[in-house]
Amino acid sequence: MIDNTIEFLEPYTYLIIGSIKALVIAGALMGVVPGLVWLERRLMGRFQVRLGPNRVGPFGLGQPISDSIKLLFKESIIQSSADKFLFHLAPAIVVFTSIVAFAVIPFGEPITIFGQKIGLLVADVNIGLLFVFAISGMGIYGIVLAGFSSNNKYSLMGGLRSSAQMISYELTLGLAAVSVIAITGSLSLTDMVKGQEVIPNILIQPLAFLLFFTAGVAETNRAPFDLPEAEQELVAGFHTEYSGMKFAMFFMGEYINMVTMSALITLLFLGGWNAYGLPLWPILAFAGKVAVLLCVFIWLRSTYPRIRYDRLMTFGWKFLLPLSLFNLLVTSVFVVL
């Protein structure tokens, strides 16, 4: 019976392993979100010289669970003037794209289980980096549609701002990545990590790292670039009208994007799972670097004030973009030589 089943499944092993990996990673990503929320609130508390959530469970660890339950059971309100279909679609797009983008992120060398070589990523595409950009580009639609379908001026403004901001900073992001590509000579994220076995790219390309990081913060709509949801001017931006689980989905999307962005920075600039002599499992080295970057994201949020919208655009187009072009130029000259 079991033999028969295995025989039947044999040609589809690839498919099955792929689906299992997809499920595991998607599950892990969603599971990591409450943890991140807790981390952010605790850290923010410390940064602002207060305690942060500490009542539910030890160190307030129960807080995210109770929050999730609250959000799940909260009534979902849709105002009558909203475009129902798009209103429901928008948060789904945000979460979907953020999870799918993670599909091509590798977090370790391939391992062998039961004679099957299994890569530690869902899909080993040889143009992984472009895939991430493509999918995260699609994520903009979630925010735009949320802004549009709410039929609310603040939401619309938030949606418009976010799309403008994300398009502008995507350029810098892409150009900074291109200089890394020029060094590596490949678009595959695994190859990039292999190329950094000796020295991480951050030492070769410090400028590209700074540019990528800055643009990455803007891409994930995090403070100080969280203009789409600037609460002082726009109530809550594109998700003003959302409540309950749909509201939570936007947050999920944002946090998953943060993880993806940190993973990407790790892979491109920090040497991925290379531990550089430290006695660490590759996967732990990777996770550690991502965790540090996540903390930096949170640190930035509590340190810097939000910048004004026009300054944001000027900064993106007139400072970051020329700088990244310049960096690319210098890099390509060096690569050619």
């Binding site: 798009l86 595409v125 143009i127 493509a134 999918i135 903009i140 549609l145 398009i167």
Partner: protein, 168 residues
């Protein structure tokens, strides 16, 4: 196996393409177009052209359509029937055009169904890779590639001339 993926994808593409035309709401049309582009990217993947597929998503679905949405949102176009009602109906012309296109489609169908389906062409291992596309772009099609930059420059100048705030 490939056909199993191809037909649903192609079918979705057609449905969404129709959605672009028949949707009353401009946003709906735009969304259908995006979905259609994604389907098309899927078909490209099926043809082993991963790079082109990703470019399709980044450029069309990711960049161009966002600008479309931008414009639609800024103009705040809602499903406005008034615009369409102003156009007088020309039934005869509609029917004639329809017949013409039906005839053309029939002819195309006749040709394609008469032809035999070959087995998929054998492609090289390097087919559709970034390197391959880049090589062709920078050797065989280097002139169109460079001329395209003049075209973009001109378009940019034009946009600035027509849109700059100070009228002089």
């Amino acid at each position: 196996m490939e056909l199993l993926i191809f037909y649903p994808l192609a079918g979705l593409c057609v449905i969404f393409a129709l959605g672009v035309v028949f949707n009353k709401n401009p946003i709906g049309s735009a969304m259908s177009l995006i979905a259609m582009m994604l389907g098309l990217a899927g078909i490209f993947v099926l043809q082993q052209a991963h790079f082109i597929a990703i470019l399709q998503i980044i450029i069309y679905a990711g960049a161009i359509m966002v600008l479309f949405m931008f414009v639609i949102m800024l103009l705040n176009l809602k499903g406005d029937d008034a615009v369409w009602k102003k156009r007088e109906k020309n039934t005869l012309l509609t029917v004639l055009t329809g017949l013409l296109i039906a005839g053309v489609l029939y002819k195309v169908l006749e040709i394609t169904s008469a032809g035999e389906f070959d087995s998929p062409a054998h492609v090289l291992e390097t087919f559709g890779t970034v390197r391959e596309v880049g090589t062709i772009l920078f050797t065989e099609f280097v002139l169109p590639f460079e001329v395209a930059s003049i075209l973009l420059l001109v378009a940019m100048i034009g946009a600035v001339v027509l849109a700059k705030s100070k009228v002089d």
